[in-house]
Amino acid sequence: MVMFGYTGVILAVDLTSGKIDKIRLREEIARKYLGGVGINTRLLFDHTPAAVDPLGPENVLLFGAGPLVGTFMPTASKSDVAAKSPITGLFGATSSGYLFGSEMKYAGYDHILIRGKADKPVYLAITDQAVELRDASRLWGKDVWDTIDLLMQEWKSEDIHVAAIGPSGENQIRYSTIQNGKYDAWARTGMGAVMGSKMLKAVVVRGKGGVRVAAGDDFKKLAREMRKEIMDSPFFQAVSTHGSMAATGPYGKFGALPAKNFQTGVIDDWFETRGYKVTARYSDQMIACPACPVGCAHWAVVPEGPYAGLQMKGIEVTPTFEIGAKLFVHDLDAIIKCMSEFHRAGLDVVSGCGTIAMLMELFQRKLIDEKQIGFPLEWGDVEKICKLIRMISRREGIGDILAEGAKRANIALTGNDDYAITVKGLEIPTFDPRSRWSVWTFGFLTSTRGGDHLRTRNPVENLRFPSVPGENYRLEPFGFPEKFYQKMDMPEELKKKIIDPEMKTTDIVLMEKWSEDLISVFNSIGICTRPPSLQSLGPTSIARLLQACVGWNMDAEEVMQAGERIWNLQRLYNLREGERRKDSIFPKRFYKDPLPEGPAKGMVVDAEKVERMLDDYYEARGWNRKDGIPTAEKMAELGLEKDLSDLDLTDVQQPDKVPSKSAQ
């Protein structure tokens, strides 16, 4: 049967036996889990036993792109990668735009499921005609950029698309990325280490097929409508002109920067040295992912100075916060230099900076000495940071300890994890929850992938307003004009509960659930979660999109229920792997060290109030209020009753084998 939107095929590769199969994607699964992260979640849950070693051959690595990917529906370029995460030991997932997702579909696959382990380095070559495993011995050890150049030479083509790991992934650094081309990445939760543990260096795709949709005229009409919605969004101009760097302003102003490993939220010369206005120095060329009218990435060429001539795509806000604030690197030229090192090594910038910042703070506090590191390590020392990135990715010297991530490395070095700013073992990105309490920061605790800011976001968030937690922790202020939230695509009854137009506030708990479910849908059908689309698209428009694209007669409720189902299955997965309520906790610093300066001076996170919010969140989700275990009623509603009844909640023993050189 022909499916529209989907290719209808999952490519299954067993690296141990070399066997390659094509599995039919059942329409029932597609409708329930949509695609991308949704179907990845189902496949990961079904294809791995509990307590599987994330770096062992039994873990599966999944690539997935939803039904809209490959079409011209605005922003529909996203693909998702999933596996059990080697850094959290829980659900691992990460999303990326650019070309890989659409190319995979043009080659004929919605998903790729990779299991087993090859006995020598290999790469997976996928074209319309053939899928094969090829020798990658000569690529092993090469950094990502060299790997891609060598593959393009081998294929005599600039039109192949490459997902590759660098030395980090090969050496199973727990926070390795898979790079999507040279400048984009599936960055978080260590998916590159899983790929490296399988001895899989790269996936090369060249697709010459296409994506068909059910109702062409409607689809074209809707695409135009959505494009207009996105381009009319109040965020469009700012994000389009400055990219994500537009957000450097507000967080600097609130004093919510993660400066020096979250020791302070204020950097005096932030705007002049690392603000969005500085980006004009590099180029005026915006770069879009396929089908996106926004073009939030920018081409950067360093014009002069020690890094003159260095080229890169995307001066982004997250690396600017991470390298510029967490590690205190003073100027954007040097931030671009560090970013290029992260890309080449195939290392996640957030976890990487979280780990290096932990080390820098240990050195600052004289908890470790120069001899242990091999050199003195001051904040903002670009040369030493680049050196550490290389040492980590090759497990050299102290790099072998840092390769395990901030939490494990902190414990190994000082016997406690006081300076590891993580939730569930994953390094927290970018903003300080003490100074801006919001859907975003509460989401660090509820995210199924640990300390992470990309699987939730308040669609009516307004970064012009600081969000200082008041007596009532549940409220986040917003300041949009009335017509804006009235237009928001959310059932009216729920909107009344979530948004208080008089007080201009959002209920964080209820919005958390809504946005987690909605973003699960986005990451499944393949559209971008950045503000211009997050604000413009909701379940009603998505239902219409899916009708025109796939031909399903779906309503808004079914769309949101799919998102809820996906999130709940991730929760069941994490419970199965041993996550418990006690794991939803911030590092001690946020509860006990008041911010020392700036607009949020004196602020801490109130542990008791956060615990009450977790109670409320669990209840809002239809989970047991005390321990966050989904109720039988909720699971029956979502069709997950069997997954719940199969769940063994006796504490599992997680394998935590150290893949370090000393252990090998």
Binding site: V213, K220, R227, I287, P290, A291, P293
Partner: protein, 159 residues
């Protein structure tokens, strides 16, 4: 009329909507390799160039065609291929200095931009107005105007 598609690389953000819209119009599916327009990334210049048929006044493709299969559309001036005559021999491909004509992998006939009978889908769907359907004289005026704007900005700086 003598129309062609004018591309402005300074406005292009490389979103490939043009190529997707083109293949959707001509192939009823999103198949970028069968698109008649290709946005190319020129890394040295740091720019995207959406590249398609220039609808030459003296089309070398037509001259090279042994079948005389490439004819001029009276309404738009587009150089179009008569599928009944085309034998898929690649002569046009060799003759074209821009690499525009290609042979369709399943229809086995040359395919290239035909200006969509006067309403090119790439132009209509481009979100950045980087493409326009122009007559040559108008295009020249447009380009001169843009150039003068740049010049004036430069003059302001000098003053």
């Amino acid at each position: 009329m003598q129309y062609f598609i004018l591309a402005d690389p300074e406005k292009c953000i490389g979103c490939r909507t043009c190529a997707l819209a083109c293949s959707f119009e001509h192939e009823e599916a999103f198949i970028p390799v069968l698109s008649r327009i290709t946005p190319l990334w020129m890394e040295e210049a740091g720019r995207f160039v959406p590249f398609t048929c220039q609808q030459c006044s003296e089309p070398l493709c037509a001259e090279a065609c042994p079948q005389r299969a490439i004819i001029v559309d009276a309404q738009t001036g587009a150089k179009i291929v008569d599928d009944a005559l085309c034998i898929g021999c690649h002569s046009c491909f060799y003759a074209c200095p821009f690499g525009i004509p290609a042979v369709h992998p399943s229809k086995h006939r040359m395919f290239k931009c035909n200006l969509c009978d006067g309403s090119p889908q790439c132009v209509e769907e481009c979100p950045r107005e980087a493409l326009s359907l122009c007559e040559s004289d108008e295009a020249a005026l447009k380009k001169r105007r843009e150039a003068v704007k740049k010049l004036m900005r430069l003059m302001e700086k000098i003053e």
